[in-house]
């Protein structure tokens, strides 16, 4: 069983509404379970610049066995657990990937933030980059591929660590 909640709140929303939001979402989740729903989607506008989108979904899809499977042993180490930690991470990284300023990886490989160990990083948070400037390198098939900035902008976040593996489409950094 998976339970996914995605929340987007407007800028103006004061922090003391978080509590109310969470309660509302909790109520929706309870409703979902009680009525065997798979999905509730609510769009709620409270006023200008104050909106709440909630989507709460519960999988009807194949899910992990309800009880935690015991630690695997040879010769059957690979017991199927449809939801892998790897998946969870991927899901968590959805947000930056959706960011309009995100630069995503055009290939699978290993990301490097500098040309070689000890060299300065190509970019740092706060740097202004020009279009075409190398922002990092992805090593794939023993080849170093320079990843250029697709446009000029300011580096808001760097989302990968030096030497970390990246999938196709993984967000690398956010340019604003």
């Amino acid at each position: 069983m998976q339970l996914a909640a995605k929340i987007r709140t407007g800028d103006r929303m004061s922090k003391n509404n978080h509590q109310a939001d969470v309660e509302f979402i909790a109520a929706l989740a309870a409703l979902l379970r009680e009525h065997d729903l798979t999905e509730v989607e609510v769009r709620r506008e409270y006023g200008e610049d104050d909106a709440l989108d909630v989507r709460v979904a519960r999988g009807v899809m194949p899910t992990a066995p309800v009880m935690a499977a015991p630690a695997p042993l040879p010769p059957a180490a690979a017991s199927a657990a449809p939801h892998q930690p790897a998946k969870a991470e991927a899901a968590a990284s959805d947000d930056p990937a959706q960011h309009p300023g995100a630069i995503t990886s055009p290939m699978v490989g290993t990301a490097y933030l500098q040309a070689e160990p000890g060299s300065p990083a190509f970019v740092q948070v706060g740097d202004t980059v020009t279009e075409g400037q190398t922002v990092l390198i992805i090593e794939a098939m023993k080849t170093m591929n320079q990843i250029p900035a697709p446009r000029a902008g300011k580096v808001k976040r760097i989302l990968v660590e030096d030497g970390s593996p990246v999938e196709f489409g993984a967000p690398l950094l956010i340019l604003e």
């Binding site: 309800v66 042993l73 017991s79």
Partner: protein, 447 residues
Amino acid sequence: MFKKILIANRGEIALRVIRACQEMGIASVAVHSTADADAMHVRMADESVCIGPPSGTLSYLSVPNIISACEITGAEAIHPGYGFLSENAAFVQALEDHEITFIGPSSAHIRMMGDKITAKETMINLGVPCVPGSDGGVPDLAAARKVAESMGYPVIVKATAGGGGRGMKLAKTAKDLDTAFSSARSEAKAAFGNDEVYIEKYLQKPRHIEVQVFGDGKGRAVHLGERDCSLQRRHQKVFEEAPSPAIDAETRARIGKTCADAIAEMGYSGAGTIEFLYEDGEFYFIEMNTRLQVEHPVTEAVYDVDLVREQILVAAGEGMTMQQENLLPRGHAIECRINAEKLPDFRPSPGRIAAFHAPGGLGVRMDSALYQGYSIPPYYDSLIGKLIVFGQDRPTALARLRRALGELIVDGVDTTTPLFHALLDEPDIQTGNYTIHWLEKWLESNT
């Protein structure tokens, strides 16, 4: 061949029989209680008849309603599945009176095996090994010693009038017998006012080994080797395998022949199971089940047969197709009983199935009446599915079982699936080193 068969059962075993009917071109009639109107067996059968309210006593055990259901649908034969009316001699007698064919043995054979004393006497006469005992009361210590020595220690001294463990004393060796005999007698005297005691062989770490037999009702019978069902909780089997990790080919052939010969001699018709305790290379008869067992699929996998089809063929007078010389076991099969029960207390967990996904792929068989959206009613037993895996050898079957358990999804109710994940981690399960006490002890120390 029959044109129409009524299945006097529900759940996965009703499906099992309906599937066999479909494959044989026989129309099927499901019967159901009002609580089972949406059940899978009702959906899959060609016709269905509501036979009573939720209570099993008033529906699946209602002989008049089931016979009437045959009459109004024109069903010529009844398959009883297991449980419910499957070993009810009076029901079978009633069917005989109504000229409806019972897919199973005669009422006489059911009655004979339903009575423990008659069953044991019959088996002894047929050469089937039973727990050795003193054939009635033992008058004195000298007689007790003689009996005990003839069967070998340990022995247990029991009050003839006894029950509930009172008046029962264990003698592990010859030197314990004096004390055991006298204290059993005095305890029996005090408890029941009768100091007569008898002596039986005592089994310390037996396995539950059962032999699948099949007779054609005309004096021919075969055996299909054994199943090991030692893993039990409160006398309920939870995990069964074939062949047994403890039985070799020679032992299998020997006990199998003994059982098949006995069945042939009896003129038994259809599927039956002779259950034994097994210890130190010896078999001790417990009882005979005169029906299809829950765990029959492990035998089907290993012997490559369709037992329900054979049952129907024999009941229809077409004879059985199995011949002993062609029944060669191969590979290894394991069944897990998936119950709607909440661990660790095995509390029944009826409810609505929010998601159901059966495991697939090579060597996996799932017998289940579940479907997504189905509500498991609280009135019947908690077995909701049987997962059977087959592999070339026991390690392959165990690995496949773990893989398949990982694919099984039953959301909305608690199931016993996690028990099997945990069992597969146990070295004793991996090596097959377990007795009928193993699971209870393991549950005690793991909860």
